[in-house]
């Protein structure tokens, strides 16, 4: 009866001070349409951040609300649902037990996402919208303000440059500075001073000036509605006007601000840190205009789901974001060069030829590219210890769109591009069996590709790769002497043979210029 091309999806998000359930209809024609939005105020974060655990009462309340959500989900006869939780369940020590309790009582298995996953999904909620690519076309900063931190993502010429997590969250700021026995006015001052200091570090390290700032987070829609009475979704306001308004209301008491913004909570403790973050972020990136999309993380969960299940047409290329972040990172460590591009192409070529032999997918192909782009960045720190350094650089960088596991796979693939692969037992603490195999396969491919451009001079052209029997035949034309490559090739290919049971053979056709 229900026509097949409409998919009903439920997204639940457990946040620092709210649990929310959104119901969506996903279809190719109408894309993603929100049909219900249910929010329940519950300050889990307060306890989670201060005591590092969730007590009985909080779990009880959470479970009872989630059971209600479960009924609502059934009521809509949804096809699927996903439940995400962030910082609240990430930062508590009893998370395992809480999750188990929730599962036993509600049947929900919750996916606890880490910061980068969280930011990426949040980012997807905006980037998945039609019109987003127009906003970032020039340059833009997308800031996502949460309870525990703020993510700043910079775009230049439509490409993602960098994304950084700054430990400035509304709830964190308040927990840090509250109850110090200060007067209210000095509390305001402290909050602002703290924010400004933290942001200074960021702006000194990155080229931050942008045309637009996209602000995601609670209270932002309320503020923008006040700044511009007729503000409809997808409209921008002048930063000047935005900042002026916040400067005006920040002098008021929390009660007055809450009333001014028409908040449900008459004295919302997070509103002051939030608006001060908005203002100072907008100031520090010197944007001309402010854009506040009325989205929340649930929209991102839905978009993520729709994308994963190919229920909608993509409007934004998220893989491109990942590659451009990797390139920016590579540039940052002075390692970006023609060699990198060549290596990248070569690795992909080998990867594509071997589809049947490695059994890996599109995602791993992307990871291979990232590994290729970043494999050399360690030299910036130490020539001798380059692989180790590259590993650490990758592990401490945020690449929007990569999960922590994927990031680890990339880092290890780079490490074993040079070093000998450790036994699984040695790595089992860090990786599961499948991921270990991915690391091995990617690093083996990377190593072969690398061997072909040992001199970093891109001596070859017209590379043809094919598989014959148990051999991987690499045919190439060359203008120059490739004896170096030839010599080192055998040395580097042994590992490849071990992994794939395929022997790489290099066949050269020397081209003499007339």
């Amino acid at each position: 009866m229900h026509s097949l091309d409409i998919h009903t999806f439920a997204a639940i998000y457990i946040g620092s001070y709210e649990v929310s359930l959104n119901i969506y209809e996903i279809s190719y024609k109408k894309r993603i349409k929100k049909i219900d939005n249910i929010r329940y105020h519950i300050e889990l974060g307060k306890e989670a951040f201060s005591k590092k655990r969730l007590g009985y009462e909080a779990v009880e309340e959470l479970c009872s609300k989630l059971s209600e959500f479960s009924k609502i989900i059934q009521g809509y006869k949804t096809d699927a649902y996903e439940i995400y939780a962030s910082a609240v369940l990430r930062e508590v020590t009893n998370a395992t037990f809480v999750l188990n309790q929730i599962f036993l009582r509600t049947g929900f298995s919750i996916k606890v996402i880490n910061n980068s996953e969280h930011r990426f999904i949040s980012y997807k909620s905006v980037a998945g919208r039609a019109g987003f690519d127009r906003i970032i076309k020039g340059s833009a900063a997308v800031v996502d303000i949460g309870g525990s931190g703020t993510q700043v993502t910079l775009f230049r010429d439509g490409e993602l440059v960098t994304t950084q997590h700054i430990g400035l969250g509304t709830m964190k700021i308040r927990t840090l500075l509250d109850n110090r026995g200060n007067t209210y006015s000095s509390y305001c001052k402290q909050v602002e001073e703290y924010i400004v200091k933290k942001l200074e570090t960021f702006t000194s390290l990155y080229e931050c000036e942008v045309e637009n700032i996209v602000i995601m987070g609670d209270y932002a829609p309320e503020v923008i509605r006040k700044v511009d009475k007729n503000n409809r979704e997808d409209k921008v306001v002048k930063t000047e006007k935005f900042v002026k308004y916040i400067s005006k209301i920040q002098k008021k008491t929390v009660e007055e601000i809450s009333k001014e913004l028409n908040l449900a909570n008459e004295s919302d403790p997070f509103v002051l840190p939030a608006i001060l973050l908005f203002k100072n972020l907008a100031l520090s990136v010197k944007s001309k205009e402010v854009y506040v999309p009325g989205v929340n993380i649930n929209d991102g969960i839905a978009y993520n789901y729709a994308e994963k299940n190919k229920l909608v047409k993509d409007t934004h290329d998220f893989d491109k974001d990942i590659l451009s972040t990797a390139k920016e990172l590579s540039k940052r460590y002075n390692s970006y060069s023609p060699h990198i591009d060549a290596l990248c192409k070569l690795s992909v070529k080998i990867f594509d030829t071997m589809k049947k032999n490695h059994g890996l997918g599109k995602r791993e192909r992307l990871l291979l590219q990232v590994a290729a782009i970043l494999h050399d960045c360690g030299k910036y720190i130490s020539l001798a210890n380059s692989p180790q350094c590259a590993y650490y650089i990758v592990m401490s960088s945020e690449i929007m769109g990569l999960s922590h596991l994927e990031r680890k796979i990339v880092a290890l693939a780079i490490l074993y591009n040079t070093y000998q692969l450790n036994e699984f037992e040695y790595l089992s603490q860090k990786l599961d069996h499948d991921a270990y195999l991915v690391v091995a396969k990617l690093s083996a491919i990377l190593r072969v590709a690398n061997a072909l451009d040992q001199s970093h001079k891109q001596k070859f052209s017209n590379i043809k790769i094919s598989i014959k029997g148990r051999e991987l035949i690499i045919k190439l034309e060359s203008f120059e002497d490739i004896s170096l490559e030839q010599t080192l090739f055998d040395d580097k290919t042994e590992y490849f043979e071990n992994v794939f049971s395929l022997k790489p053979i290099l066949k050269e056709k020397r081209v003499y210029l007339e």
Partner: protein
């Protein structure tokens, strides 16, 4: 020019006194010779039950204020004691008028029409006496509980609003002092008893208390009855539920119901000929002051007259019964949802039938595409089909959420019963909200269709009550507009305890947004006038007593906005005050149907805004209740709602216009054609159906 203080209390009328004027207007209907006799009787009965409720709620609450030494003055600058004094005077005036109407006009007229109402057993014939005495022994005696008061038996509890007979007794054996005794007239028996009469054509009734009075000696053998008179006590019934403390609202209300009868006595009605000694005992035992005692020149509690209204035969003494008409926009061959998809539907009750609203729930309950039904219920009828279908829907596996307002005045006991019934059948029942009464009338059906979820919404000005919908004038709208559907979902999420939505599309809700919205709309008219445009407001409601709204209306009037108000009941606004309210007119329509719809019209420089809703312009509606006011969006429906207002403003039969002196006067027609708005709406509703049935050609349609 001197600046006018629009808040000056002399510009406002006290709400209680204004209410008494309303009851007086109802009484005027009972005095109107152009109205059929039994209808007049009904109006008289209504004034009586109105007054009872007024006492139990309003007067009781004023007494509480006096007891609590609460000194704050009301909108008109009167404190509680002053108000009580004024009410007392006005009520006595009203009561006097009630009984003179009864005794001098209605009883003789009844007699003319061969209906005899005997109020004194002394007037019975011998044959009738025999019948009455037998009736007493067979039917009444077994259920009486006479109670005497002496040293070992304290004064019994006299239950609220019950009719009793007090008597003074003297023992036949001992030479004792007199003794007080009382007996309750059983509420379970019909108070009007038909007795035989000589002429077979006639009908004769006697009041039950007269039968008991006559036979009182049978209850107290060995005693001599010195005197016996009926009396009735009214007690404080307006309890405020302490919601902060009650962990379980339901339980709390059940407790309060038992307590209600124990409330303090605030009014005693006795027959005017009562013996002074007897009255003295009642006064002392019930702890009453003289001004709380009403001596009644006739039968106590005239609500009994409503029983006469249903008398078989005598159709000539009643209006012809009006049958609510079909709604031509609704094609009975299609289901209600298909009809709504064709366009918004406006229904004007009781001129048009309430059936589509019942059908809405009935069809939703059985429709396999329906996922959920959500509805607010305030007051429902005894055997409500809506409740039945909601229960059915739950049994059919739909998600049914019902918000049952337990705090609906005097309906608590009734509400708890059917709320439990709904719960048993699997509905999710929300028993009201802490601190707020849910007065909004909204029903939402969520349906899963080929194009996805579609929401059908019914919004109304009246309760989901199929019996009152035959008597109350109300408007309701069916729509499946997405903007309203989204809002409706948000309303129910909010009522279920979730956060409010970030913004509303169309609906305006009290307690958070409605007051500001109305003030904004009124001020917008002021601004338009200032900018040289026309300013115009027409508003129809049951009561107008919110100071801030009235003040803003005064400002609008002073600025030149033309304001016409149709206020059925209380109106604290005064008209015609120079510089304050010269541009405001107020009229009240009291007719055969109870005016109940709330309609708000704002000219808005030509881009007219019309709203319907559940809220009056009263503080309780704007601040302490969940109310919904919704815009009429469809232009055809807008025209129809405007037409309703236009006709009501033209009414010169049932409308009374408020004067500067504070009186409500009928309009001098001076030869103009009489316009009775309610009759016109009846006629129009019939014509709509006729026109519709004519336009459909009668042909056989071959199947293809």
């Amino acid at each position: 020019m001197e600046k006018i203080d629009f808040e000056n209390s002399k510009y406002y009328e006290n709400r209680e006194l204004s209410w008494i004027k309303f009851d007086r207007r109802v009484l005027d209907e009972a005095r109107d010779k152009n109205i059929p006799l039994l209808e007049r009787l009904k109006f008289l009965s209504i004034t009586s039950s109105n007054l009872d409720e007024f006492y139990m709620v309003r007067v009781a609450s004023l007494k509480d204020m006096v007891n609590a030494d609460y000194r704050k003055k009301d909108i008109a600058g009167m404190n509680a004691t002053e108000q009580l004094a004024a009410i007392n005077e006005a009520t006595r005036e009203l009561t006097k008028c009630q009984y003179s109407t009864f005794t001098n006009s209605l009883v003789p007229l009844l007699k003319q029409n061969k209906i005899n109402l005997i109020n004194e057993y002394e007037k019975l014939s011998a044959e009738q006496i025999e019948f009455v005495d037998n009736y007493f022994m067979d039917n009444v005696y077994p259920v009486l509980t006479p109670m005497a008061v002496d040293a070992s038996r304290p004064f019994p509890l006299i239950r609220n609003k019950t009719l009793n007979i007090a008597a003074l007794l003297k023992s036949n054996k001992e030479k004792e002092n007199t003794m007080f005794a009382t007996v309750q007239v059983p509420g379970g028996l019909n108070r009007l008893v038909t007795i035989p009469n000589e002429d077979g054509d006639e009908k004769t009734f006697i009041l039950l208390e007269q039968i008991i009075e006559r036979n009182l000696d049978k209850l107290f053998s060995n005693y001599e009855i010195l005197c016996a008179y009926p009396y009735r006590v009214m007690r404080n019934a307006d309890f405020t539920i302490d919601e902060d403390e009650a962990s379980d609202l339901l339980l709390e209300i059940q407790n309060k119901l038992k307590l209600r009868q124990w409330g303090e006595a605030i009014r005693l009605e006795v027959e005017n000929k009562i013996d002074d000694r007897l009255l003295g005992i009642l006064r002392r035992e019930l702890k009453l002051d003289n001004e709380e005692i009403f001596k009644i020149p006739g039968p106590i509690d005239l609500t009994v007259l409503s029983k006469l209204f249903d008398l078989k035969g005598y159709d000539n003494l009643r209006y012809e019964k009006y049958i609510p008409q079909q709604v031509p926009q609704i094609n009975q061959d299609k289901n209600i949802f298909a009809n709504i998809r064709d366009g918004d539907i406006l229904i004007h009750h009781p001129y048009q039938s309430f059936q589509p609203v019942v059908d809405f729930i009935r069809q939703a309950a059985a429709d396999p595409k329906v996922l959920a039904i959500k509805q607010t219920l305030y007051r429902v009828s005894g055997n409500s089909p809506i409740i039945r279908y909601l229960a059915q829907a739950a049994e059919n596996g739909k998600q049914v959420t019902v918000l049952v307002e337990l705090k609906a005045r005097f309906d608590e006991e009734h509400n708890i019963v059917w709320a439990k019934k709904l719960e048993r059948s699997g509905c999710h029942v929300i028993y009201g909200l802490v601190g707020l009464k849910t007065h909004s009338k909204i029903a939402l059906v969520v349906r899963r269709e080929e194009e996805g979820i579609r929401r059908y919404v019914h919004l109304g000005t009246g309760n989901y009550n199929d019996s009152t919908a035959k008597v109350y004038t109300d408007c309701g709208i069916f729509t499946c507009k997405e903007s309203i559907g989204e809002d409706a979902t948000a309303v129910f999420n909010m009522l279920s305890g979730y956060s409010e939505p970030l913004s509303w599309n169309e609906l305006v809700l009290a307690p958070y947004w409605l007051r500001d919205k109305f003030l904004y709309l009124i001020k917008r008219e002021i601004n338009n006038v200032k900018n040289g445009l026309e300013g115009r407001i027409i508003a129809k409601m049951n009561s107008l007593c919110d100071k801030e709204i009235i003040k803003t209306l005064y400002m609008a009037s002073a600025a030149g906005v033309k304001i016409d108000l149709v206020v059925r009941g209380i109106c604290c606004l005064k008209v015609g005050i120079p510089g304050v309210s010269e541009n405001i007119t107020v009229r009240s329509i009291v007719g055969n149907f109870l005016e109940h719809s709330r309609i708000f019209y704002f000219f808005n420089g030509g881009e007219e805004d019309i709203f319907l809703g559940s809220a009056d312009w009263m503080p309780r509606n704007l601040d302490r209740r969940v109310e919904i006011v919704f815009p009429v969006i469809d232009s055809k429906l807008k025209e129809r709602v405007k037409h309703i207002l236009d006709i009501e403003l033209e009414d010169n039969v049932k409308a009374r216009v408020l004067t500067f002196e504070g009186q409500y006067l009928k309009i001098n027609r001076r030869g103009k054609k009489p316009i009775n708005s309610q009759m016109i709406f009846c006629k129009e509703a019939k014509e709509l159906v006729k026109k519709d049935s004519l336009s459909v050609g009668r042909v056989f349609i071959p199947t293809e």
